[in-house]
Amino acid sequence: MSTDTTVKANATPTYSEAFQSGVREEMTRNKGIFILGTDLQERGGHFAQVKGIAQEFGFDRVKDSPISEAAMVAAGMGSAMYGCHPIIDLNFIDFSLGAMDEIINQAAKIRFMFNKPVPLVIRATSGIALGGAHHCNSLESFFAHTAGLSLAVPSTPMDVKGLIKTALRNEDPVIFLMHKKLSGIRGEIKGDDYFVPFGKAATIKPGKDAVIISYGYSVVTANKAAQALEAEGISVEVIDLRTLYPLDTDAINAAVQKFGRVVVVDEAPLFGSITAEIAATATEANFGSLKGPIVRVGAARAPLSANPAMSEAAIPSVDSISAAVKKVMKY
């Protein structure tokens, strides 16, 4: 078994490799951590997120599962109550719908009802890419709405590693969403002692005139929009929430108070979304600081089409985000 889990200088692993790195370090430290999911042992998961870990830690700690989402989450929940710290890999978050009772009605409530923490990580790939309506649901608001669950939505390799390590030291269920369009991006990561706390947003790009608050792949799109707007003389700050629950309301409030011109972006249909929550709470707390209404950019209220142009048109783009920023700049 390899013990070389240190990160080499200047190494720029992918988003998926960053997950592997964090999991390896925590599995070495905690024998109660195991991974259960489909196609993990040989393939390493559909996004290479656990590639090589079965060979390194053994098939007892990386288990191939039948496609039984309810049993997968139940297996995680029961073993977590017993004393393990499982990572249940649901592959696509869309498949969590087959385990929604286990997640929302059971795992999230056990600590409150039975005074017993459930240290469980549910990892899944999320976000919108090609693949049609059954692989592109944005379910963040379902989970964030549920007391007892935390929700991580990293957009960089650094944050993937830092957040999964925090999740694996946490006592409670964490939904860990990795955007499918970020799987191959590269970036620096840090070593064994680097943790990203939940509930702490990061400033991706500083700005002077307005702020875009976002998470996941939308951070990338928002950043592109912000760069384009620089050329037009509009200086936009971009904030990456990194976790949706706990939500960094301090950072949101500070940004609203500083700029008064606020755009919130994600890929979920606008109605009942996280962007609605952010806009509402930010407005309640900072109404006097706002120069005008917070503008939200999200997806159409429709299932995602398999047609690439239709799919792209349904979700935020550089153009739609730029237009939203220009709208708040007119206040």
Binding site: G32, A74, A75, G78, Q106, F112, M113, N115, N170
Partner: protein, 328 residues
């Protein structure tokens, strides 16, 4: 392993009496509004619970259903702490946060009753996986009703237990009615053990009114589980004397049917006869046992009545650790 010795027989008989008296008493209190949200009476099903628990070690794990007073008492939780939970008082097994359907004591191997049909089987299967991963010598038992035999996740859990050879026992606490629907009307193939055997595990239909038969099959299943031979399915056929929930006036079964089970198949009457026949106790000793049970249940009610309510200020406490935002 096929019969209970004197000590275990008397303990089993007394435990069944405790459950019966507890349920009859709680039912009346529930009708008087003392049990918020109502309850599910397990009178008639005592042998299936006590038989299983007689075969388990104290730190074996169970997870169960919405009808779980009998399992919880048989697992060794006191009538006081269970009655207090029915009253949703702070001294209850779940601190008043669970109520009748959510009795638990995770540190003592009780992973909870459950308001959702079939959910307990999955949790117990997960506990069995935890036992296997941490290489402990224990088993986990998942209770499910006949209604839960027709929800898909029960079979997902059974399949997973089979492929991983988990130290797991599935007990179908089969009282023959899914709320008001007779099991035979909604169960394709009819034979539950035959259905389970298709998943590749030893599967048995047994008499759930005979505490010794339940004990024997559970003990053998436990031996197989500890030997690494994987899970067992046991369909313990039993009967509930009361409605699905307290106060129910259902027309879905006849009074004659209920009377027949009460008079000719009652698990306590039956096992009292066995105990007398084997001269494990005299009639006087059995009468004394019943009187001591009566006192114990009276004390449980008094305890529940006099216990404090949980503090309103705690309504959002214990949802999560609150530590996620702290730099580690």
């Amino acid at each position: 392993m096929s019969t209970l010795d004197k000590e275990k027989s008397l303990a089993a008989l007394r435990q069944m009496m405790v459950i019966r008296d507890f349920e009859e008493t709680a039912d009346k209190l529930c009708l008087r509004g003392k049990v918020p949200g109502g309850m599910h009476n397990s009178s008639g099903q005592e042998a299936a619970a006590v038989g299983v628990m007689s075969a388990l070690a104290p730190d074996d794990v169970i997870a169960t259903t919405h009808r779980s007073h009998h399992h919880t008492l048989a697992k060794g939780f006191t009538p006081k702490s269970v009655m207090a939970e029915l009253f949703a008082k702070s001294t209850g097994v779940s601190g008043g946060r669970g109520g009748s359907m959510h009795l638990a004591g995770v540190e003592r191997g009780h992973f909870g009753g459950n308001g959702i049909v079939g959910a307990g089987v999955g949790i117990a299967m997960g506990a069995a996986l935890g036992i296997q991963v941490l290489k402990d010598k224990k088993v986990s038992v998942g209770f499910v009703g006949d209604g839960g035999m027709n929800t898909g996740r029960t079979w997902e859990a059974i399949n997973m237990a089979v492929i991983y050879k988990l130290p797991f026992i599935i007990i179908c606490d089969n009282n023959q009615y899914a709320v008001e629907t007779f099991v035979g009307r909604v169960t394709g193939g009819g034979d539950l053990a035959k259905r389970a055997s298709g998943f590749g595990l030893p599967s048995f239909n047994i008499n759930g009114q005979d505490v010794e038969e339940v004990y024997k099959y559970t003990a053998e299943a436990r031996e197989r589980a500890l030997a690494g031979e994987g899970p067992t399915f046991i369909n313990a056929v039993t009967y509930r004397y009361y409605g699905h929930n307290v106060g129910e006036k259902g027309q879905y079964r006849t009074q004659e049917e209920i009377a027949e089970w009460r008079t000719s198949k009652d698990p306590i009457d039956y096992f009292t006869g066995v105990v007398l026949e084997r001269k494990f106790a005299t009639q006087q000793e059995i009468d004394d046992m019943r009187a001591s049970v009566r006192t114990e249940i009276d004390e449980a009610v008094a305890f529940a009545e006099s216990s404090p309510e949980p503090a309103i200020s705690t309504i959002t406490q214990g949802v999560d650790s609150g530590k996620l935002g702290i730099q580690l």
